[in-house]
């Protein structure tokens, strides 16, 4: 009965988080980083739901926080993608190593 314990869900979400962290650190393309951030947000969602299910709390609270995370992720993707489009229009590239204008 793996699926009726807390630990497998925690390990799964930790794995997802670390893969996302690896993506954020290693990817050079802005869209790739956005995708990795989505993975991290998903691991947070799994954690909220797992703790909501296996701890003595109101069962709705974990789900409500997950709904908030999903809503904020949608807003984040909308803004992030429009920033990607604007950066591409200005620099003709989305490689983050070329975005050095703020260094002065």
């Amino acid at each position: 009965m793996i699926y009726q314990q807390l630990m497998p869900y925690l390990l799964l979400s930790a794995g997802l988080f670390c893969i996302g962290l690896y993506g954020v650190l290693e990817r050079r393309s802005l869209i790739g980083i956005l995708i990795a951030v989505e993975l991290i947000l998903n691991s947070a969602n799994i954690n909220f739901l797992a703790f909501g299910r296996f701890m003595d709390v109101d069962k709705a609270v974990g789900q409500i926080y997950s709904i908030f995370v999903i809503g904020l992720a949608a807003a984040e993707v909308a803004v992030g993608l429009s920033i990607v489009v604007a950066i591409y229009r200005k620099y003709r590239s989305i490689n983050i190593e070329k975005l050095v204008k703020l260094k002065g």
């Binding site: 925690l10 799964l12 893969i19 790739g32 989505e38 739901l49 701890m55 974990g62 489009v85 604007a86």
Partner: protein, 171 residues
């Protein structure tokens, strides 16, 4: 027998999630990355069903696997050169990033083993229904609920403003 089948399905969904995540950060073509992300999100929806969050699983499929991955695909396809220009990777970056994330994972596992989790004795007790979810959402979390809608509105307006062509400047 029933629990064995449940275990197998859980492991299947977990494997889909992890494999999709690995492909989403590992593959070279950005288009394949987005499709693997959609696979991961569908696997996560299956995990949500195991956690008795059927409504969240539906929302996950609708908003994440539907809207968000389609939005990313649109952004890739609307700017044609993005789809066929894989950025080269350096070996040292890969090694350093892999070491850092492996270290973080090890710390997580250590914490999971050491922490005294106060797990409830019977997790199936409690009200998992969507009716209860909606009541708590609009009674105790009404302010955050309204705030999220304002955030979404502002984000959409901001996205329009940022991505708009500047007038009088040919692109």
């Amino acid at each position: 027998m029933q629990q064995l089948i449940g275990d197998l399905i859980f492991l299947l969904f977990a494997a889909i999630t992890i494999a999709g995540a690995l492909m989403a950060v590992g593959l070279k073509n950005i288009f394949h990355n987005v499709l693997s992300l959609a696979l991961t999100l569908l696997g996560t929806a299956g995990i949500f069903i195991f956690l008795h969050a059927e409504f969240l699983a539906l929302v996950q499929v609708l908003i994440y696997a539907g809207a968000i991955s389609i939005a990313i695909i649109f952004a890739i396809m609307l700017s044609p050169p993005l789809s066929m220009k894989p950025v080269p990777r350096s070996m040292t970056k890969i090694l350093v990033s892999a070491c850092v994330s492996a270290l973080v994972f090890a710390v997580f596992v250590y914490i999971f083993i050491k922490a005294p989790w106060q797990v409830s004795l019977d997790p199936s007790l409690g009200d998992y229904s969507v009716v209860h979810l909606g009541e708590v959402l609009v009674e105790h979390y009404a302010f955050a609920f309204e705030l999220i809608s304002v955030v979404l509105l502002v984000a959409i307006l901001g996205a329009l403003v940022i991505a708009r062509e500047e007038p009088g400047r040919p692109s």
